[in-house]
């Protein structure tokens, strides 16, 4: 069994997939930390679903399957989706969560219609486009991984250079604006990174699940630390580990899909964090409460003894 798994790892294709999934987990973990703290986790999900019609239209217009073109299409439709959400929340009484739900499902619906249309028409190279629904990491090739290396490098460098700015933006955007930071630009930049991550991730994980990689590692990381810097690093690490575990399980055991396995791996990390994190975890809290209660009971008991008439009588004797 172990022999088999390591022999599979020497296959260059598998190595590309491994690196790709790891990088995807890394960048979505980093960007996800900020979107989570800005309470915009659902934006990632909306962007991912909104990307589908963009990808389909890009394919229908050009007839070729190329990542940069899909990126463009997904970017435009993602932009349109966020614009729509802004318009709906500003000019109607509909709140942001409902607006996101509406936009997400409309765009996804259009995407599915277009996808079905493509599959039933005479586009030559259409095979594989439906893989964008749930992702197919196995279809990743070297050039895709190069794109991922580029995108994740940009995200890592930008997040460390602009760490202070992103922190302030996430904690107190009003104060940031007061200090003169271009809050709108920084917000757009973060949104742009989210779109990049989502689109890069769609191929491996699919539009339906890619948001999980943005949200889950960040939430898990929050359990382990009260420092933003460490949280971002941990979140990236959790994401990368999830990607690696997902790839390993999918390539070594059976023909299980890599993307969903990565998402499940991230979920395992999350559940473990919820239960066993040292300060905020469920177990730590329970232990603290039990100890606390016991200490209080003990103190009360001592007080009772001290104030009981028997005790006083003995005292006076």
């Amino acid at each position: 069994m172990t022999l088999l798994s390591w022999s599979v790892l020497t296959d260059p294709n598998t190595q590309w997939i491994l690196i790709g999934c790891m990088l995807l987990g890394l960048m979505s973990g980093i960007i996800g930390s900020f979107t989570y703290l800005r309470k915009q986790s659902l934006i990632g999900d909306t962007l991912a679903h909104a990307a589908l019609p963009g990808i389909c239209i890009a394919f229908m217009l050009t007839g070729v399957k190329s990542l940069p073109l899909f990126f463009l299409g997904a970017f435009v439709s993602g932009l349109l989706a966020t614009l729509l959400i802004t318009v709906i929340t500003r000019y109607t009484r509909i709140k942001a969560d409902a607006a996101m739900g509406i936009v997400l499902s409309v765009f996804f619906g259009i995407g599915i219609v277009l996808l079905t249309h493509i599959q039933h028409s005479s586009y030559g190279n259409q095979s594989g486009l439906d893989k964008f629904l749930f992702g197919q990491a196995a279809s990743m090739i070297a050039s895709d991984v190069y794109t991922m290396i580029g995108v994740s490098a940009v995200i890592v460098i930008a997040s460390s250079l602009l760490f202070k700015e992103f922190k302030l933006l996430s904690f107190d955007p009003g104060f940031a604006r007061g200090l003169g930071f271009p809050v709108g630009f920084l917000e757009q930049l973060l949104m742009f990174f989210t779109v990049m991550t989502v689109i890069v991730g769609i191929q491996a994980v699919g539009v339906v699940l890619v948001a999980a990689l943005l949200i889950t590692p960040a939430v898990a990381a929050r359990y382990w630390t009260d420092r933003l810097g460490l949280m971002v690093v941990l979140s990236g690490l959790f994401g990368a580990i999830s990607g690696v575990i997902g790839t390993l399980i999918s390539t070594t055991t059976s023909n299980l899909p890599t993307g969903p396995l990565s998402v499940l791996a991230a979920t395992v990390v999350f559940v473990f964090s919820v239960l066993f994190a040292p300060q905020r975890g469920v177990c730590a809290k329970a232990v603290r409460r039990i100890r606390n209660n016991r200490a209080i009971r003990m103190a009360e008991h001592v007080r009772e003894i001290q104030h009981s008439p028997v005790y006083s009588k003995e005292e006076s004797l």
Binding site: L37, F171, F175, G178, G180, R227, M231
Partner: protein, 257 residues
């Protein structure tokens, strides 16, 4: 910082702000003298916070000019400190008190540069000034409401500004924090700094502020406290929602909602 004494720290003219169609602040003009503590008073929805935010450029204004020491606000940001309402942020954010106070230095640091030892020392000083030094490394969600308010105050101090805006710093704080804040305000005043405070508690206005602004969408009255904080002007500001009980020469004020 030395500013020309000829220029008022803040001068606002014809400020109008609207949400949708309805103006929430109509044609407000005033000039702030240097080195004064100024209370901004008015009923709920009078546009007190809105005015501060519009001056700071956090809300779009329909019309109006704002000048800080005779210059455009954009050029004078480093001279302006701001204490937002405590509820405006999520206190479960992964950071500690010292880190929040250091944010007051971000504007001076500029892009990309990270805060270092100098900023850390400055932040520590500011925490000490609000009596929070021993809480420097406390996670901010573990602080009481009053302590959180003091952290925000320390962050504004770290801005080393000359003109301060504070949005309801006294709301929901304990007596100790209220004392700490008022001591600090008087210290700032002694240094020749100017502070505008959105205030809710009419009972303490006389005690705390040199000047008072009565606001209810429009500017009702503005000037030294003894001239402005009068029964008739307060009635005018609050309409029928205010009961004023005369007591000797002063007045006990009860705001009825």
């Amino acid at each position: 910082m030395n500013h020309s004494n000829l220029q008022a720290p803040l001068s606002v003219s014809g400020l109008t702000v609207a949400y949708q169609k309805k103006p929430v602040l109509r044609n407000v003009s005033f000039e702030v003298p240097e080195g004064k503590l100024i209370g901004i008073v008015g009923p709920n929805g009078a546009g007190k916070s809105t005015m501060i935010k519009a001056i700071l450029g956090l809300l779009p204004r329909v019309s109006g000019e704002v000048e800080i020491y005779g210059k455009r606000y954009q050029d004078m940001r480093k001279s302006v400190g701001y204490v937002p309402q405590r509820e405006s942020v999520d206190w479960d954010f992964p950071t500690n008190a010292l880190d929040v106070v250091m944010m007051g230095r971000y504007g001076h640091l500029g892009w990309f540069k990270r805060p270092g030892t100098k900023e850390r020392d400055m932040a520590m000083d500011c925490l000490a000034k609000v009596g929070m030094k021993e809480f420097a490394h406390r996670q901010i969600s573990q602080l009481s409401g009053g302590q959180q308010q003091r952290v925000f105050l320390a962050r504004a101090l770290a801005q080393h500004a000359d003109l301060y805006f504070m949005d309801e710093p006294f709301v929901g704080v304990d007596a100790m924090t209220e004392r700490a804040i008022i001591t600090l305000l008087n210290e700032l005043k002694a240094q020749g700094k100017t502070v505008l405070v959105v205030h809710h508690d009419l009972a303490t206005v006389r005690e705390y502020f040199d000047w008072v602004m009565l606001l209810n969408v429009e500017l009702v009255a503005y000037g030294p406290t003894e001239d402005v904080f009068t029964k008739s002007l307060l009635h005018q500001t609050y309409g029928g929602r205010l009961a004023v009980f005369d007591q000797e020469d002063g007045a006990v004020l009860v705001e009825s909602r």
